[in-house]
């Protein structure tokens, strides 16, 4: 059954005037929100040449650093984030730069080897802001260093739940834009209930990548789904990252025939799993719900998706919603992204790069308006706390606990021939309140507090 129409606050029906005032009115903020048409026809937005606000805004360009995977298996996620960040920087520079005059120069370094050294090198080179990383391990390795170096870092990914619960309990300079693990897992738990109905879900299985990320996702999903449906976990498989043979897990699922199979596989593993699952007729006996399956949108071939029954989340962004037809910012972002090499369709990882840069840039812009001068690192950090901003994915808020909160999207994963890639069909939206614990409350505690 279909969810009700998305609420008015979602970008669909917002009026132009209210949108402009909501995004803080600066040229950069508008450009990043994707409302260039509003700018082009000169709607009464404030002049923003920056010079007249009396404060001194330095001339030289802002040196920014991005830590992401540029090659190897995780490259399929990392390159999306890189292109997203590059587009955001390009739009900022085209809109005149931060405060009307400071262009951004983005230096991208591969996270694959010695990420700690690469990050420290950014600081030594005097970067004013750093973005990334992608992997949870690197994020929990770098977050403490960010607090020590006192330079703002807006995490694109590295969505491990415990980052701001255990690793860096009271962050000052470390922020994270993308929905973190618990948000995307709870989204899929709710999506399963939406699609199949709580009372039809009595048994659940999991096939997750055999490392910390996969284990965390399965643990949270088990907690969430048992609260929502009282279902019992009948099988948990953890294939090695990049495994060539998942037949054992698929055969176990065929024998257990669970109502729901949860998976947080991503990149190349998705195609291997889906292909071998359909070869073993797994989809006859179970429905698959995955948090990051859609990250393989550009890679999974048509014959693999044929005859499958898969629902995937897309974290805080899906290019197809609202439909490209009537949502100008979405249309422009889609066209710009697909023009960049390495991007068949922009996935949520694309938005993690774009959104992280946007969060920082709009916060600095707001600080310049309030303070009348270019803000210090501390001032930028304070401005980012509770900072609301727009991207073509809709409205986002950087909460007090430094964790970004945005709507989440989920839908049926089908192959689209003219697009040449997979897309989501019949998309549901879940607001941040439904999927994220209130600031300061630990994820598992929040899940425990749910009534049965």
């Amino acid at each position: 059954m279909k969810r009700t129409e998305p609420t008015e606050r979602d970008t669909g029906g917002i009026g132009r005037r209210r949108l402009l005032s909501a995004i803080g009115g600066s040229a950069v903020a508008a450009a990043l929100a994707g409302c260039s048409t509003l700018l082009s026809d000169g709607g009464g937005q404030q002049s923003d040449d920056g010079g007249d606000s009396g404060g001194s805004i330095p001339e030289e360009p802002i040196q920014a650093g991005l830590l992401t995977f540029t090659k190897g298996a995780p490259g399929v996620l990392g390159i999306q984030a890189q292109r997203g960040a590059e587009l955001a920087v390009q739009r900022i520079n085209e809109a005149g730069g931060i405060g009307g005059q400071r262009r951004i120069e983005l230096d991208v370094v591969d996270e694959g080897s010695n990420p700690l050294d690469s990050y420290n090198q950014f600081i030594e080179e005097g970067k004013e802001v750093t973005f990334g990383p992608i992997s949870s391990g690197t994020h929990s390795q770098i977050a403490p260093e960010v607090e020590k170096n006192e330079v703002v870092n807006v995490g694109t990914d590295g969505t491990v739940t415990t980052l701001y619960e255990e690793t860096v309990p009271d962050p000052t300079y470390s922020f994270r834009f993308q929905n973190y693990d618990i948000m995307e897992v709870v989204t899929m738990a709710r999506e399963a209930v939406e699609r199949i109905g709580a009372d039809n879900i009595s048994t659940v299985a999991g096939v997750n990548p055999g490392y910390s990320f996969g284990e965390d996702e399965m643990r949270v999903f088990t907690q969430a789904i048992t609260k929502l449906t009282g279902a019992e976990v009948v099988y948990e498989g953890f294939p090695e990252l990049g495994a060539s043979d998942m037949s054992n897990h698929i055969t176990s699922i065929n024998s257990e025939q669970p109502d729901v199979t949860f998976s947080s596989l991503w990149g190349g593993d998705v195609t291997t799993f889906v292909r071998q699952a359909s070869a073993n007729d797994m989809f006859d006996s179970t429905t698959v719900f995955g948090t990051t399956l859609y990250s393989a949108a550009g890679d999974v071939p048509a014959d693999a998706l044929a005859g499958t029954d898969i629902y995937s989340g897309s974290r805080n962004y899906y290019w197809g919603h609202p439909a490209l037809g009537n949502w100008q910012p979405g249309r422009e972002l889609f066209d710009a992204a697909t023009a960049q090499d390495g991007v068949t369709v922009p996935t949520a990882h694309y938005m993690s790069g774009y959104g992280a840069v946007t969060a920082w840039a709009t916060a600095v812009e707001k600080a310049i308006d309030l303070l009348g001068t270019y803000p210090s690192q501390d001032q930028i950090a304070q401005m980012l706390e509770g900072h609301g901003f727009f991207t073509p994915a809709g409205y986002h808020n950087m909460a007090e606990d430094h964790q970004g909160s945005s709507n989440s999207f989920a839908g049926a994963m089908v192959y689209d021939d003219d697009l040449g890639a997979a897309r989501l069909d019949d998309v549901n939206i879940y607001s941040a309140a439904e999927t994220a614990p209130p600031p300061g409350v630990a994820g598992s505690a929040w899940l425990d507090s749910w009534s049965g």
Binding site: D110, S136, K148, L241
Partner: protein
């Protein structure tokens, strides 16, 4: 002060039992000065990273330990990351679960853990030699890697931080420091440990124990028949080399304050440790240390130079195997190919021409050979 000693017509200097010719003494002094100057030198240009050189020295130190096995007992250990990783993870576990903060205690823990692990793996592998020994040590290394990856208590693939106590940092002499200062102080701690480690290894190579290991390495049957309980000696050498790996791993954890299975236990790290010993010159004492710095530097700087940095490292290793089999240090020492070629050049500079000619001739001959083999293979062996 060093006393002069005349032995068989060559003036040698003896200081604290370390005997060296004049050239070796000068080289040694230069080396120690270089070690201490690294932090300032790396401030000059940012292509020279203190962190990278420091990591090279740490892995190089593990290679010095491995070299005791490789050079004397001629046993190729392809699982030395097992001890490096054990040292690193022991430090992380002590910091996280036991709340140990002082660097000294953490390192002692690393040494103890590595000793126990080396004793265990040693006891199980010392019946083997040659490729069996290499593959078995590799298997044990990968077993530890799989366990670290699988255990959430050890942080799984995300690894573990080393941030004990309120200061979120191991204590050096009881106090905490700014990150930059901490990095330099831990560097000097590493230099101190390296100098002590090299001195101890030097004394071992001058001791009767070294003769026993050489005997076992060169003719194992005869070693049994001159009364050596071969397995106990190999086991002892294995433990000593494991301790060097454990200290290096412990220091690595203290310096980087984070350990992951990929960076400390994976078999490619064991490969690195083995190949840096050979790159530096495994017939020498200091070779593996220099090999460590060069290999890690190559892998790190290589990435900034080109995306094909693996190819670059591969070619360097090829040049090593064919051009400088004695490794960097070995080639410069007398009898090494570099010192001989330099001698040739000094005598008659035109030598370069015929080197080139001979090089061209050999590659030509090789190409013809392989083409004829290919032709015969495709159309049947005559």
């Amino acid at each position: 002060m060093p006393e002069r000693v005349e032995t068989d017509g060559e003036t040698r200097y003896r200081f604290l039992g370390v005997e060296a010719t004049r050239r070796e003494a000068v080289a040694l002094a230069l080396g120690v000065v270089a070690l201490f100057a690294v932090p300032d030198v790396t401030r000059l240009s940012d292509s020279l990273q203190l962190g990278v050189i420091h990591q090279g020295l740490l892995f190089g130190f593990a290679a010095v330990g491995l070299n005791l096995l490789l050079r004397h007992t001629k046993l190729t250990s392809f699982g030395h990351a097992a001890f490096f990783g054990t040292g690193a993870y022991a430090t992380a576990v002590l910091a996280k679960y036991a709340g140990l903060q002082s660097v000294g205690l953490l390192l002692l823990g690393a040494i103890a853990a590595a000793t126990v692990m080396a004793a265990l793996i040693g006891a199980l592998s010392l019946r083997h030699t040659g490729l069996y020994f290499a593959l078995l040590t590799l298997a044990f290394g990968q077993l530890l890697y799989a366990i670290a990856l699988g255990q959430s208590a050890l942080g799984g693939s995300d690894g573990m931080p080393i941030r004990p106590g309120p200061a979120n940092q191991p204590l050096l002499l009881g106090t905490t420091f700014e990150p930059a200062v901490y990095q330099i102080l831990t560097y000097y701690l590493t230099v101190a440990v390296i100098l002590v480690g090299l001195f101890v290894m030097y004394r071992i190579t001058q001791s009767p124990f070294r003769n026993a290991l050489d005997a076992i390495g060169q003719e194992r049957t005869r070693a049994r028949f001159i009364g050596l309980p071969v397995r106990r000696y190999v086991w002892a050498a294995f433990v000593i080399s494991g301790v060097y790996g454990g200290v290096a791993g412990g220091l690595y954890a203290v310096v980087r304050q984070y350990v992951r299975p990929e960076g400390t236990l994976f078999f490619l790290r064991s490969g690195d440790i083995l190949f840096m010993a050979i790159l530096g010159g495994f017939r020498t004492l200091v070779g593996p240390l220099i090999g460590g710095v060069v290999l890690i530097f190559l892998q790190d700087v290589g990435q900034d130079v080109t995306q094909y940095y693996e190819f670059l490292t591969g070619v360097v290793l090829l040049v090593l195997v064919y051009g400088f089999p004695r490794g960097i240090v070995g080639s410069f020492r007398s009898g090494g190919v570099v010192s001989e070629r330099l001698g040739q050049l000094r005598r008659e500079p035109s030598a370069v021409a015929d080197w080139a000619r001979s090089a061209v001739r050999t590659t030509e001959r090789k190409a013809v050979e392989s083409l004829s083999s290919l032709r015969i293979i495709l159309f049947g062996v005559d």
